[in-house]
Amino acid sequence: MSLKEKYVLRFSRLNRGLHIFMIISFLILSLTGMSLKFSYTGWAKVLSKFFGGFESAGYWHRFAAVIMIIVFITHIVDLFRVKRKEFGSWKGLLIGKNSMLFNKRDWKDFKGSLKWFIGKGERPEYGRWTYWEKFDYFAVFWGMFVIGSTGMTLWFPEFFTNFFPGWMLNVATIIHSDEALLATGFIFTIHFFNTHLRPEKFPMDIVIFSGRVPLEEFKLDRPQEYKDLVEKGELDEYIVEQYPPIVLRGMKIFGWTALSIGFSIIIWIIYAMIFVYR
């Protein structure tokens, strides 16, 4: 058995599924939301029409929001299962070696990374989750809280104004839309770069769909994790075979579509902000 055929399973089936739904709902939310935010541009009008008018676009937006909330809740529920099955306790989940929470090691890695960037050190030996991955992960939590709560306020303004003054709707609008701008901007530039456009991954890393990384690449990319797995003797548990090419092609097509939509949105936003800002 050659080394080339060895793949390491990095993401569970559920997480990969959730990420696909996350992508779909996020793209729909961005497209419909941006069409309203930049309603003064021509592309917004076309986009709005594409979704069947502003009202229909509104239904798409809420529908996608519900999907995303379901994705979020499913993940939270899954955390309980993961805690029970893989970590045994909350302590293990939260402050263990493979925790998603930031810890001392992340700080060390961050400093190490900066040194490496400026040529004053070797590439840090990244573990299961790097600090930028953790940042992305918690950005979703932050976004869910900020955009989700303001979004609900705007969805049911009559209800929420029983508790808040009317101008809170204006504030909610600003927060919702600017946080959304931050989220889309971040995902479609920083996240895209860190995971796909980064030269070593260019043009795309389909690991989030396949969940599989070539073992050799894994060794290089996550030396610490590899070491840990080897030490524990658990590496073989994660060794799997790659999907057949047709499945991979499907994943690539999906990935490309998502990437293209994301980049388009970024271009539209930049165009709107630079050329027709008002």
Binding site: T161, G166, N170, I174, L220
Partner: protein, 660 residues
Amino acid sequence: MRRLILFIFFISISLSRIFAQSNDDCLMCHDDPNFKAKIDGRTVSLHINPKSFTSSVHGSLDCVDCHEDFDADDVPHRKEITKVECGNCHDDVQELYVECLHGKAKAKGDPLAPLCQDCHGKHDILPVKDHLSAVAPMKIPFLCGKCHREGTPVQLQRNIPQDRILENYSESIHGEGLLHKGLVVSATCVSCHSAHRILPHTDTRSTISRQNIAATCAVCHAEIETVHRQIIRGELWEKQAHILPACVDCHQPHEIRRVYYDYGMADKDCLECHDNPNLITSYNDGTSLFVDYEEIKNSRHANIACSQCHSEVNISKHRPCETIETKVDCSTCHAEIGSEYSISMHGSLAAKNDENAPTCKECHGTHGTLGKLNPKSPTFSINIPELCGRCHREGENAAVRYTGTEKDIVNHYTESIHGKGLIKSGLTVTATCTDCHTAHKELPHTNPESSINRNNISSTCGSCHHGIEEQFEKSIHSPLVSDTDKELPVCFDCHSAHEIKRADTEGFKLEIMTQCGRCHEEIAETYFDTYHGKVSQLGYTKTAKCYDCHGAHDILPTINPESRLSRNNVVETCRTCHPSANRQFAGYLTHATHHDPVKYPFLFWAFWGMTGLLLGTFIIAGAHTLLWLPRSLEWRRKLKKMHKERSEPSESNEENKKEE
């Protein structure tokens, strides 16, 4: 005069009484009812009723006062008795009679010529005022009618231009007054023709000549000028009767009614020449002078005589029209319209002899003119856009000369709500060109008199949209409410002039926001920062637009308790779209901006807080990524190299596998 003559006669008669016959002497014989004589082969009664003679106007006279010049004692009177000459006493009347048609006929020896006694009788003449008199008003028509009725020798043999005179008179308003109502002041034959000086109407001295007829009628109809303004402009009427139609042009002689008559007195005369389809002008330019009488008969002017419009005709000429010098002036009858036209744009251009200026006939036609209610008329409402379009369509004369802002007027109108209503739906009451611009007094909008002037437009539109005008007058945009130096909006500012759309169409709903924004610049801009505005901007009309909250024609300031946005009404206004809106919900800032830290500090800080977060995140993450880039390139090369190394042995491995 008469008295003097009577006096002289009385003296001479008194002197001669000694020898003369007394009346009693005469009556000795003439009292006998059977007293007859054969004169010229006819048996004639010579009976005189003494009673009727003594009660007559001449009752105090002796027989011989009139029957002069014979020997009374010679009984029977062998010498021929000269005929009585009334003129001996009534010499003034005699003078008139001699000049008149009757007198001249008599002079010519016409046996049909009426003599004094034919009208007045002989021995039983009563005063005119006595209703038993033969010449009392009630009897006049029949008296004259003895000769001037159908079938009489006079009517058959003499050249009398009128037919059925007595019959027509008795049915006329005068005849009806006299004969049916017993109104003895009604005009009779003699009122118009005079009693003794009856002259043909072609004689300028005649009471019924064209020049004098007005004066004749005015004897009774003294104030006709003041009440008859439509037709005759007071001062011109009697002074320049030749220009204007005479009474009889409209009110035919003998048939006078309060309506026009269907036959002008001169039409058939005109048609003698103008009925010829080959008749052309003598100027050799070939213009046809043919008049299609059928066309006139079917026109609005069917009952108008040629000479009413083509005035200045002179009936005494062989060609009565040769005296015509001026063109037809419609304002003779249509005086009000004429004065409107003269101040209009069309009229003032026409006054400058502008070749493009339309006159009456350009729109109304000539002989075939039809009323505006006739669908075949070019001035029928549905045909008006086409009519005006003849000049005002893009590329035509008027459109080329026009320097204003309106473009492609006819097409825009056709596509407008008014145009669709009129042309597509055939709704004849829909506003067409003339409804706004008026038919005859159209003026540029800059003219304060113009119906489309900024100050007049709301009443112009209000003539149909009255309810809207009423609302508008109470609104903040009305000059009656707002005292301001700024220009207040009027109908066309929002609805446009010619492209007027239905207010419930998408296009109108979206445009109206920019219309409001032309004046309310800031408030419109901030509106577009809110959800309502953004959706509207996308081109959807379902969210609230200016008029949904502020009202359309009835906009009031929010401080007015009646306003839709006053404290008491605002929640209700929100509820039209948001049924469960509450008071706090109404506190939503529909015109909020996050650029004003004083007015909207919460929004300002929320915006800048979010923007700071966004910029901060991007700067840190962006810098991180950029720094990463060169190392990542390095890493890529490393990976590639590794791949290459791995791929070679793996191939040989596969070969080994196959061998196995």
